[in-house]
């Protein structure tokens, strides 16, 4: 049994934490939060590229480091803990992983080395309005290789160089790789619950689009990409949830009320114990997801769903109850609690809300039982 990070992976994780402590403190996060014109922190992005993290799992043939997915999970956990204000998930978990899994050789050669070098930001454009996207609700379409339609919201859409876009072609959904610098693309930056991560509306008017994956298999392709992303996002959520517990604990140990530290009151102790329980359930499920992702196991859809559900629940609970423990201070702009509360919403919504994943999990369990 070897169900934990290895010593080398722990070392990588420790180094990542030290790096982010130095380069991604609250001032950096707030620099993006407080400036509507900043979509992300460019210095941090450049430094992360310098570290090789953008190409961590990209094969060496495409100028990446060729590390395993468990290593990327370790990095993701630390990025989540630091609420890093950079388009890492869109670029690495979605575009790089998506192209590695479904891209043609030409697409891999065009995209992966540029991602590894920090020259290319990616994004995923599926949503067109409130509610879940389905084959029948999809209005964006590709005809004769040209994409037309509106995608809203698209995380990092205002700064991305390339997008993976879900659109129908010949009446059936497919996934397309689109150069956002091309003619016919217009972008509008939108306001977000989490201003430390940017969102945009993308309008396509006859933009050149190249299919990624099989024709007619767009929903399946997107789902397979999201399964991979869900595991990595779960580690970001876990990192955030752990940080919330730490912040709440530290605050409770220093705050006096009624003549003693509030950390001694059972109402607070039990709340923090509840956070701990949820975080450990999330960690164990995330580890299973990491294993499944790393070896591309057939269990990945179930493992990813469970990881996402547990991590979404843990981060939401920890972020809201951390504010509660901080009392009135927790409700101020100046205390960092809301950074995590906002990010917990961003991470839970960006790849499909937990309800959707619960349904996915149960239908997978049904199929497994039927088999």
């Amino acid at each position: 049994m070897d169900f934990d990070f290895s010593d080398d992976q722990k070392f990588l994780k420790d180094e990542a934490r030290k790096f982010l402590d130095g380069r991604c403190g609250p001032a950096v996060v707030r620099g993006v939060l407080d400036h509507a014109d900043r979509a992300f922190d460019k210095d941090l992005w450049a430094a992360v590229a310098e570290q090789g993290w953008l190409g961590a799992c990209i094969p060496e043939a495409y100028n990446g480091l060729g590390l395993g997915r468990v290593e990327l999970c370790a990095i993701a956990e630390e990025l989540g803990r630091a609420v890093a204000p950079i388009p890492f998930a869109s670029t690495v978990y979605v575009l790089a992983e998506g192209i590695m899994a479904f891209g043609s050789e030409a697409q891999k050669s065009a995209v992966l080395p540029r991602i590894a070098a920090g020259e290319l930001i990616g994004c995923l454009a599926t949503s067109e309005g409130p509610g879940v996207i389905t084959a029948s609700s999809l209005t964006t379409r590709v005809e004769n290789g040209k994409l037309t339609g509106v995608k809203i919201p698209v995380t990092d859409g205002d700064v991305a160089d390339m997008a993976l876009v879900l659109a129908s072609e010949g009446g059936k959904p497919a996934l397309f790789l689109v150069d956002l610098k091309a003619d016919g693309v217009s972008r509008e930056t939108l306001k977000s619950l989490d201003p430390t991560r940017s969102v945009a509306k993308l309008t396509f008017d006859g933009v050149a689009a190249e299919r990624v994956g099989e024709a007619g298999q767009g929903l399946e392709t997107v789902q397979a990409i999201l399964d991979r992303a869900a595991v990595l996002l779960a580690f970001e959520q876990l990192g955030g949830a752990d940080k919330c517990l730490e912040m709440a604990k530290d605050y409770a140990l220093g705050r006096y009320a009624f003549g003693r530290v509030i950390a001694g009151y059972q109402a607070i102790k039990h709340k923090l114990a509840d956070m701990y329980v949820k975080n450990e359930v999330a960690r164990s499920n995330a580890y299973y997801g990491a294993w499944a992702l790393n070896v591309d196991a057939p269990e990945l859809p179930i493992a990813a769903s469970a990881a996402r559900i547990a991590a979404s629940d843990a981060f939401w609970f920890a972020s809201k109850e951390s504010i509660q423990v901080h009392g009135g201070m927790g409700f101020t702009w100046d205390v960092d609690c809301h950074l995590y509360y906002r990010r917990s919403r961003q991470l839970s919504l960006v790849a499909g809300a937990p309800r959707v994943w619960k349904e996915r999990l149960v239908s997978q369990l049904e199929q497994k039982n039927a088999a």
Binding site: K249, L253, G264, A273, V277, Y287, N369
Partner: protein
């Protein structure tokens, strides 16, 4: 990150499997299928324990010199897994070997150890733990059972409660109050006692679940020798902590129907808008239970990983019972409500799944209390894992006899 045994672990597992294949079959051939909590079942359990002890598979982590297997914690886990797969988990010895005998080993003289350890390992004698009282459950140090010195003996009077297996146990470790004039933790002393003494009376507790697995134990002028004392006079709390350290591990797992069983049930039943399995509210709950159950399973894997690496496991296993007990209650209730009007039936011949959900529903309240209530376990996580301060102890400096008791 993987689930594979190391080469040494794989070799041990192979050896254990081969041994089990041979001996489990022989055991079954001799005893057949038996109903738990019957004398025949107990006889089979004792025979199996003796077979394991002879082969070094009982108390695997204890030195061979005292009857153990001289093995490692991970070997113990591996054998437990294989024994479980072979369907041979007898629970009668868990508390004695997990909690009581280690306490005896830690606090008694060589003669006592020689007398008791080996028979316990072989399953010849079974031990129980006599701590909880009507006036001291979560606050066990508030116990009232009194031991008074009389020459070279102690005379004991009082009552214990929730003693697992007292009626079939041979010996027990008993926590008593020897000095009521000092604060509660300081006036306690531990003894080992003979459960078959005429001054010891066991009365089964009629539980709300209908069963009678636990006991009240009464002591009326029970006389024990001073040589039966474990630890110093007044040091009973320190001794008890050694016992309790192992309790959460011993109580850990839970039985009863889980997400798989309720999924099977939902497939067969009709809900208000179609098949019960298609009800969205149910599907969301099912997903949550799956995530919790798997979370606990993988948390055990993390604990095993630490053992496998020769490290001390982290505190993560402390989440197990809180989750398992609460899930058991919620899952059982959802199943019973899914059965709708029929859910009220408890006859195994009539209720779906042989009334497993109804039984689980009535057992769950006990599981949320036994071996540390939800509330005490959360205190433990808060204090020992997160390092938060202990509660304000208003009775810390008060002599036991002056403590408010509410009656």
């Amino acid at each position: 990150m993987d689930f594979n045994d190391s080469p040494e672990e794989a070799a041990y597992r192979e050896k254990a499997r081969a041994w089990l294949a041979e001996n489990a079959a022989a055991h079954r051939a001799q005893f057949g299928e038996l109903k738990p909590n019957t004398p025949e079942h107990m006889a089979a359990a004792k025979a199996w324990q003796a077979t394991k002890a002879a082969a070094g598979y009982a108390c695997i982590t204890w030195p061979a010199a005292i009857g153990g297997g001289g093995g490692t914690p991970i070997q113990s886990v591996i054998f437990g897994q294989e024994e479980g797969k072979a369907g041979l988990g007898y629970g009668y010895f868990t508390i004695g070997l997990g909690m009581c005998v280690p306490t005896v080993m830690a606090f008694s003289n060589t003669e006592t150890k020689q007398r008791f350890v080996s028979p316990a390992v072989k399953g010849e004698e079974i031990w129980c733990q006599l701590f909880s009282e009507p006036a001291g459950g979560s606050d066990v140090a508030a116990l009232r059972t009194r031991a008074v010195k009389d020459g070279d003996e102690w005379v004991i009077n009082g009552q214990k409660v929730w003693t697992t297996g007292a009626h079939y146990c041979d010996y027990g470790i008993l926590l008593t109050r020897t000095d009521p004039d000092v604060p509660k933790h300081k006036g306690l002393t531990m003894f080992w006692i003979d459960m078959k003494d005429a001054a010891v009376e066991c009365r089964p507790i009629h539980q709300m679940s209908g069963g009678r697995e636990f006991n009240e134990v009464y002591f009326t002028d029970l006389r024990v020798k001073d040589s039966q004392r474990l630890g110093e006079v007044g040091d009973g709390w320190k001794v008890a902590l050694v016992t309790l350290m192992n309790e959460r591990l011993a109580v850990g797992g839970s039985s009863g129907p889980n997400y798989r069983e309720i999924m099977s049930l939902a497939r067969e039943l009709t809900g208000s808008t179609g098949p019960a399995i298609k009800d969205n509210a149910f599907r969301e709950k099912l997903a949550d239970w799956y995530v919790q159950s798997e979370g606990l399973k993988f948390t055990r894997f993390r604990t095993m990983t630490a053992l496998s690496r020769g490290q001390t496991p982290g505190p993560e296993s402390s989440i197990g019972k809180i989750i398992a007990a609460n899930q058991m209650q919620e899952l059982a209730n959802t199943a019973v409500e899914m059965e709708d009007q029929y859910g009220i039936l408890v006859d195994p011949d009539q209720a779906p799944a042989e009334a497993a959900f109804q039984q689980s529903l009535m057992w769950a309240p006990g599981l949320r209390i036994a071996g540390g209530t939800d509330e005490i376990l959360k205190n433990i996580i808060a204090e020992r894992v997160l390092g938060l301060p202990g509660d304000v102890r208003v009775d810390k400096d008060v002599a036991f006899k002056d403590m408010p008791t509410g009656r």
